[in-house]
C-alpha cells in the first residue's frame, strides 16, 4: 500500500518542515495543558512569550545541532527558561556582540561590511562569535528555516481560527 511505504521513514530523515510542525504541535499541546485561564495582561504576555519560545525551540531542534544558529538559539532559550522576556534580543547578547565584534571584524572587513554585519550579528542567533563567512552561511540557513517557521505557524493559526 502507498501509505505503508511512507510510514517507514523516521522523523529524523523527514523534511525540516515536518519536524518543526511535529515538535511545535507537541509543545503547544503541553502549553495548553498548563494553561491557566486567567485573563490578566501578564498571563497573556507570558503566554505569548512561551508560544514564541516554543516555536523557536522547536525550529532549532528541528534544524538540528549541525547549525550554529540552532545551537545558540537552544542554548539561549534554555538559559532564559523561566524568565519573562518579550524582546528576544536580550541585554547580555548585545554586550557579548559589542565585545567580540570589535575584536574580530576589524582585520576582516572594510567599512561598509562592518555596518551591515553588525546588524546581522544581532539578528542571527550565535552570530556574535562568527566570522563573516560563516555568518553568511548561517544567515542563509536561518532565513530558510524562518520562512518555514512562518509558513507552518500560519497554518496553525489558520487551523485554530477556523
Amino acid at each position: 500500500m502507498f501509505s505503508g511505504k511512507i510510514r517507514k521513514i523516521p522523523l529524523s530523515r523527514r523534511s525540516i518542515r515536518t519536524r518543526f510542525a511535529y515538535k511545535f504541535s507537541k509543545a503547544l499541546k503541553e502549553l495548553n495543558q498548563k494553561r491557566t485561564f486567567s485573563s490578566s495582561l501578564e498571563a497573556y504576555n507570558r503566554r505569548c512569550y512561551m508560544v514564541k519560545m516554543a516555536s523557536y525551540a522547536s525550529l532549532a531542534s528541528a534544524a538540528g545541532s549541525r547549525r550554529t544558529w540552532s545551537r545558540a538559539l537552544l542554548w539561549k532559550i534554555r538559559r532564559n527558561k523561566g524568565l519573562m522576556r518579550t524582546n528576544k534580543s536580550a541585554a547580555p547578547r548585545r554586550r557579548i556582540s559589542s565585545l567580540i565584534s570589535k575584536k574580530e571584524e576589524n582585520p576582516n572587513n572594510n567599512g561598509e561590511d562592518l555596518l551591515g554585519l553588525e546588524g546581522l550579528r544581532k539578528l542571527v542567533p550565535g552570530g556574535e562569535v562568527m566570522d563573516a563567512l560563516s555568518l553568511f552561511d548561517e544567515t542563509a540557513d536561518y532565513i530558510k528555516c524562518l520562512t518555514i517557521q512562518v509558513q507552518i505557524m500560519r497554518k496553525f493559526v489558520h487551523f485554530y481560527s477556523g
Binding site: 501509505s3 523534511s15 528576544k88 532565513i143 517557521q149 493559526v157 487551523f159
Partner: protein, 353 residues
C-alpha cells in the same frame, strides 16, 4: 701611503710564488697609480689563458660578468697573474689556483687600503667578499648571490610600492611574482591595519563571502535587483527582521486563540505529506481548510470505516508513533477523535504518548 709602504714588504712573497714576477713591483706601482682598473683589460688578459684555467679563475673569482665590473680587485689579481705566466709554467691547476688566491687576497687588501685613500665607496665591500671567494668558493658564491638578491629585492620592493600606490590588484600580482613575504608587508603598510599574513587566503575568503552574498540575494525576495553590498545587507536584515516579527505576531495569535480543539500535529503533517507526496486522495480535503460545520459532516462520513477497523488500530498507531509518521488517513482520524468522537479518544491518548 700605507699601501706604498706595504707593497715592497709583500713583493718578495710575490717573487717566491711566481717565476715570471720579476718586474712586478713596477707593474704593481703602475697599477696602483692607475685608479680603477678596466674590466675589459682583465677580460682580455683572461682570454690569453687556456680555456680551463680561465674558467677556473672565473669560477673562483666571481661568476657574473656584471659583478666583475663591481669588484675590480679579483680582476686585478687575475690580470696580474696572467700576463707573465705562460701555459707550461703552471704544472697543475690546483697549485695555480692556490697561488692566485693568495696573491689576489694580498692584492685585495691593497685594494682596500687604496679604497680607503678615496676611490669608490662600494669597492671595499666587494673586495672583502672577494678574498673569501678566492679562498673558498662554496662560501663566496652564495654571498655574491645574496648581494645580487638583495639588490633585486630592493628593486622589487620599489616596484611593489609603486604598484601599491597605483591600485590594489597590481600589488597582488606583483606579490604573486615576487617573494611571499613582500606583498603582505606592503598590503599591511597600505591599509594601516595589522593583519596576519595570507593575503591570498584573505582574497579567497572575500570571494567566498561574495558568493554567499549572492546566495543570500537569491534567498531574499526582491533582493536581486539591488546592487551594492551595503544595500543588500540592509535588505537581508530587513527580511530577517520581518520574519522574526511575523513569528512574534503569529505566536501572539496562537496565544490568543482558544484551542478548543487540541491541535494535532497529524493534520498539518497530512497537509504537508499530501502537498509533497501525492494528490491522489480525491475524497479527502485538507483538514485545516475545513470550516467547522463541514468537519462534522465529514466526520460522520469517515467515522464508520475507522470504527470497523478499530481492532487493528492500536497496533497500527503504536507503530506509527515509533516511526513518527502519520498518513493522511490517520490525520483525519486523529482530528476527528480529538474533536468529538468518544470511542476513538483512547487512541488519541495513546498517540499523545
Amino acid at each position: 701611503m700605507e699601501s706604498v709602504e706595504a707593497l715592497p714588504a709583500r713583493s718578495p712573497t710575490g717573487e717566491l710564488i711566481g717565476t715570471g714576477f720579476n718586474s712586478q713591483i713596477g707593474d704593481e706601482i703602475q697599477r696602483l697609480i692607475s685608479v680603477p682598473p678596466d674590466s675589459g683589460s682583465s677580460f682580455t688578459a683572461l682570454l690569453e689563458l687556456p680555456a680551463n684555467q680561465a674558467m677556473e679563475l672565473l669560477i673562483h673569482s666571481s661568476e657574473d660578468a656584471a659583478t666583475i665590473a663591481q669588484n675590480p680587485s679579483a680582476t686585478i689579481a687575475e690580470c696580474r697573474l696572467s700576463p707573465p705566466a705562460p701555459v707550461p709554467i703552471f704544472p697543475s691547476d690546483a697549485a695555480l689556483v692556490e697561488r692566485a688566491s693568495k696573491f689576489s687576497s694580498i692584492m685585495s687588501t691593497d685594494e682596500i687600503s687604496r679604497a680607503k685613500l678615496g676611490t669608490v665607496k662600494e669597492e671595499p665591500l666587494d673586495s672583502v667578499s672577494n678574498p673569501n671567494s678566492n679562498s673558498s668558493p662554496a662560501v663566496s658564491n652564495p654571498a655574491v648571490d645574496q648581494n645580487t638578491k638583495s639588490t633585486k629585492r630592493k628593486d622589487r620592493e620599489k616596484k611593489g610600492k609603486e604598484s601599491n600606490k597605483k591600485s590594489k590588484k597590481p600589488a597582488n600580482e606583483s606579490s604573486d611574482d615576487g617573494g611571499e613575504k613582500l606583498p603582505y608587508v606592503h598590503v599591511r603598510a597600505r591599509r594601516g591595519q595589522a593583519t596576519d599574513s595570507h593575503s591570498l587566503a584573505e582574497r579567497a575568503r572575500r570571494e567566498k563571502i561574495n558568493a554567499r552574498m549572492k546566495l543570500l540575494q537569491e534567498l531574499v525576495p526582491g533582493c536581486n535587483k539591488i546592487s551594492g553590498t551595503a544595500m543588500v545587507l540592509d535588505e537581508i536584515i530587513n527580511h530577517v527582521q520581518s520574519l522574526q516579527r511575523q513569528v512574534e505576531f503569529l505566536s501572539m495569535r496562537l496565544a490568543t486563540v482558544n484551542p478548543r480543539v487540541d491541535f494535532d500535529f497529524d493534520t498539518l503533517l497530512a497537509t504537508e505529506s499530501r502537498s509533497h507526496v501525492d494528490m491522489s486522495f480525491p475524497g479527502m480535503v485538507m483538514p485545516s481548510m475545513w470550516p467547522e460545520g463541514q468537519v462534522h459532516m465529514n466526520r460522520e462520513q469517515y467515522q464508520q470505516p475507522w470504527q470497523t477497523d478499530e481492532l487493528q488500530q492500536p497496533v497500527w498507531i503504536r507503530e506509527e508513533d515509533n516511526s513518527n509518521f502519520i498518513t493522511p488517513e490517520n490525520s483525519l482520524l486523529s482530528y476527528d477523535s480529538s474533536a468529538n468522537s468518544a470511542p476513538l479518544h483512547s487512541n488519541q491518548v495513546k498517540m499523545e504518548m
